[in-house]
């Protein structure tokens, strides 16, 4: 994992500094820019050292927690700590939403294959795959926020509250969760449907039915349990997609999360913030994969990692 983090950080650092745009020109007044103020700013930001030196310095201060944003001069770790809860909450909710409803739809489809219900499920999941996040989000806001007044159009908690009260926050999180979780839902539904169909054709299902078990038990206990295995793996690799989606969702719903932090930092060429968010996301993906590997072993006794 450590070599991975070093690799990711070095690569993203290179990408960041090779991107056009000079942070010093964005921080010095356009009109008051003189050779002196510009040079003073470049020195302040440490932009004149050779790239490898800057990389090592940046990484060192990142791990001592002293790395600061070019723009706000706040500690990047503090800013991330402020922003991470929103993104994590949203991510976890979206995963739960996607898994639960995706499984339900997949099971419903698989038990009545090639029926109207199956077709409907297929249409739903294909739409879920293809729908652009920002458009879907805006449509939900227009309908439930502006027209019907059922849900607040944006934000993460009521004005004036500073704590993380789940009951007060719930209405704010409904639409973002749906938008972010729909892609996952579609994935899961497709996976569950096909692996359920496969499982339902297995000999042990015929045996179960032959024993006279009720269909419910056959489907839920025998077929579903076995067909959920591949779903666990999807969660691992869908994490990067969720992070990408969070960027859009947080922007449209004005949520104070890390995705937005990343976008703002990119537009300000705030190198320390971009780098830190990238590393955090990389670590999240690595951990996500690790967890899905472990879960896989837990769920399937046949799999043992040496």
């Amino acid at each position: 994992m450590i070599p991975l983090v070093i690799g990711v950080s070095a690569l993203s650092y290179a990408v960041i500094i090779f991107a056009p745009g000079d942070p010093a020109t964005l921080l010095v007044d356009r009109e008051q820019m003189t050779a002196e103020t510009y040079t003073a700013m470049r020195i302040e930001l440490g932009l004149d050292d050779p790239a490898p030196v800057r990389y090592v310095k940046t990484m060192r201060s990142l791990f001592t927690g002293e790395l600061r944003s070019f723009r706000t001069k706040q500690r990047v770790v503090d800013t991330i700590a402020e922003r991470a809860p929103a993104t994590l909450t949203l991510g976890v909710l979206a995963i739960i939403f996607g898994l639960v409803f995706g499984t339900l739809i997949g099971v419903a489809q698989a038990t009545r294959p090639y029926s109207r219900l199956d077709d409907l499920g297929t249409i739903l999941s294909l739409t879920g795959f293809s729908i652009p996040h920002f458009w879907f989000a805006l449509m939900l806001i227009m309908l439930f926020g502006v027209r019907l007044h059922w849900l607040p159009p944006s934000g993460i908690r009521p004005i004036g509250s500073s704590d993380w009260n789940p009951i007060a926050m719930a209405p704010y999180l409904v639409m973002p969760t749906i938008v972010l979780g729909t892609g996952l839902l579609a994935y899961v539904a497709r996976f569950v449907r096909s692996s359920m169909l496969e499982a339902l054709g297995q000999d042990y299902i015929r045996t179960a039915r032959a024993k006279g078990l009720r269909e419910r038990i056959v489907v839920l206990r025998h077929a579903l349990r076995n067909s959920l295995l591949p779903v666990i793996t999807i969660v691992g690799f869908i994490l990067p997609l969720l992070i990408g989606g969070a960027v859009i969702v947080e922007n449209v719903f004005a949520l104070p999360g890390m995705g937005r932090l990343a976008v703002d930092a990119v537009f300000a060429r705030d190198y320390p913030v971009i780098l830190t968010v990238t590393i955090f996301s990389a670590i999240a993906v690595i951990i996500g994969n690790l967890i899905s590997d472990i879960l896989y072993a837990v769920a399937d006794p046949r799999i043992r990692y040496g």
């Binding site: 000079d22 008051q32 806001i141 502006v146």
Partner: protein, 562 residues
């Protein structure tokens, strides 16, 4: 997502804000009130007319961008807006005419030689933490700005204060030119400067007791940067990163408490979200785009205001380019004449913009209405290009010596949409415009700085504290800021040099008129439009009548619920 690049707050410097915020008349008024007669009076902060029905109490939720810091190092436009209702200077600018009026100083008077200013401070002013404000705080503020540990170099106005340079270079332990006594501050200048008072208006006074032990190099890292203590009518309660900033009424404010108890500033990264909130009642005030404005105008639940356009837009070229005729005046005039501004205003801006023909704002005192303009005249544009030897070739694109008149235009995501409307206008006179480089703002400004472009859609915020610097930034060479047009006119440069020593207001005006005659006559830019700034608020919330955006925030104490 990145709508309105040039006008989003995070990208604009403080200086640009001053340009945006309507300036010009200030300077004239300043000169008018130059030596002698002390200026006094006690205006309401902001000086805007208060709505008669506004009652005391209640809260308003508004949409405003996220500041970079709320400490003195803020360089964001939004920071300057916020300072106008949380902090005070010795003097402040009265909007919209931008005259200098008293703020923490009840009155001020320059000496007859214009080199010494005496400020009589208001008595009984309190800081947000309840401590008493004094003349020592003022002196402290100047020394904080000029401190040897402050990484920023001395500004021109600060360097003009006697002893500031010695203090910066550690040759003195104080700025000898700033003398604090009981209720007075006396500031001595090296040379008389018409910009001095306006520079004071943007210098917000800092609390010595709070910041005495903070190094100026670390101010942005100090908790002060997130929850500052000033003397303004509102104080900062809480800043939730990426979410909101909450302000509450400072009831001990020296000019009386503001009407509202609370202001919540919500931070929307996407303008369409702010719009949805405005429609659903989640926020009560916001600025909207031209395509949304009509809806609110016709809705009886909202009140709208059309404010003066603060940014003028134009096409510019790298004149050092030898392949294309950018360096030839008739070419630039032809482009300007090819542009049908009326159609541009009517289609792209739904009528909510003004045609632009000059770098200086027509509202500014420096503006010379007689300076040459190149209005829409397609036939003449074609004639000029023909005369230059660029003849219409294949596909209707002009050619000369085997070179097709087809060059690249660098645009941002904002200006791209406008350029789509400009393309057919240029195409109609035989200029190929299909090469469009869409870049983000940081890339745009970096490439502009080093002249790595052929042509671009450029914008400049006017309404500077000193509108003369608008002209200098674009027409004087060498230019210190990022406008790599390569424009150089020795006569214009000589006039700028002459202006630096001209004393009287008439002399200044005469010289700057001449500068515009020459530079605008050279058609350095092909001017486009000035989009209006469009304000919307719910009916229940009453705002002062404003002419420019800065006035809306400056008049925050007068906001009220009816």
């Amino acid at each position: 997502m990145a709508k309105n690049e040039l006008s989003t707050t995070r990208k604009l410097s403080r200086r640009q804000f001053m340009q945006l915020s309507g300036g010009a008349a200030a300077y004239a008024a300043l000169l008018a009130c130059q030596p002698s007669s002390p200026v006094s009076g006690s205006p309401t902060p902001g000086g805007a007319t208060s709505a008669p029905t506004a009652k005391v109490g209640g809260q308003a939720i508004i949409s405003l961008g996220e500041p970079d810091t709320l400490g003195p190092t803020s360089r964001a436009l939004v920071g300057a807006y916020i300072f106008s209702f949380i902090a005070n200077g010795l003097v402040r600018l009265k909007y919209p005419d931008m005259t200098v009026v008293p703020d923490l100083a009840d009155s001020f008077s320059p000496s007859s030689d214009g080199k010494t200013y005496t400020f009589n401070l208001h008595k009984g002013v309190k800081w947000h933490n309840g401590q008493v404000f004094s003349a020592d705080d003022v002196k402290f503020t100047f020394e904080f700005m000029a401190h040897p540990n402050n990484p920023a170099p001395l500004s021109i106005d600060l360097a003009n204060i006697v002893g500031a340079k010695d203090f910066k270079e550690k040759k003195a332990t104080e700025i000898t030119g700033v003398k604090a006594s009981a209720d007075k501050i006396e500031i001595s200048l090296i040379a008389p400067s018409p910009n001095f008072l306006t520079s004071l208006a943007v210098t917000k006074i800092l609390p010595k007791a709070v910041l005495a032990n903070v190094s100026p190099a670390d101010i942005a890292k100090d908790p002060f940067a997130r929850k500052p203590i000033y003397t303004g009518p509102f104080k900062v309660d809480e800043w939730k990163s990426g979410e909101s900033v909450t302000y509450s009424a400072f009831t001990d404010h020296f000019r009386g408490r503001p009407n509202l108890d609370k202001i919540v500033q919500r931070i929307f990264p996407d303008p369409s979200t702010a719009l949805a909130e405005l429609r659903s009642g989640g926020i009560q005030q916001a600025f909207v785009t031209a395509d949304q404005f009509a809806d609110f105008q016709s809705n009886p639940q909202y009140q709208t205001q059309q404010l003066a356009g603060t940014t003028g837009w134009f096409l510019s070229w790298d004149m050092t380019n030898k392949t294309f005729p950018f360096g030839e005046k008739p070419f630039r005039q032809a482009v300007s004449m090819a542009i049908d501004r009326k159609t541009l205003v009517a289609t792209v801006f739904k009528g909510l913009a003004d045609e632009n023909y000059s770098l200086a704002s027509p509202l500014s005192w420096v503006y010379n209405a007689n300076a040459p303009k190149n209005p829409f005249d397609q036939a003449k544009a074609k004639q000029l290009l023909d005369d230059l030897g660029w003849k219409v070739g294949s596909g209707g694109i002009r050619e000369k010596g085997g070179v097709r008149l087809e060059y690249a235009t660098m645009v941002t995501t904002t200006t791209r949409d406008w350029f789509l409307a400009i393309q057919p206008m240029l195409q109609a006179v035989g200029i190929g415009t299909t090469k469009v480089d869409v870049v983000d703002f940081p890339t745009w400004i970096s490439r502009l700085n080093v002249g790595k472009y052929e042509s671009t859609v450029n914008g400049w915020g006017n309404f500077a504290i000193d509108p003369r610097s608008d002209l200098a930034a674009h027409f004087r060479s060498p230019r210190t800021s990022g406008d790599a047009t390569g424009y150089k006119n020795d006569q214009v440069d000589a006039l700028f040099a002459q202006a630096a020593t001209a004393v009287s207001q008439e002399e200044q005006k005469r010289i700057y008129d001449q500068i515009q005659m020459l530079a605008e006559g050279d058609a350095v830019y092909a001017y486009l439009i000035r989009p209006k700034v469009l304000e919307v608020n719910v009916k229940a919330l009453s705002l002062p009548q404003a002419k420019i955006q800065a006035e809306i925030y400056d008049g925050m104490p007068q906001w009220g619920l009816s």
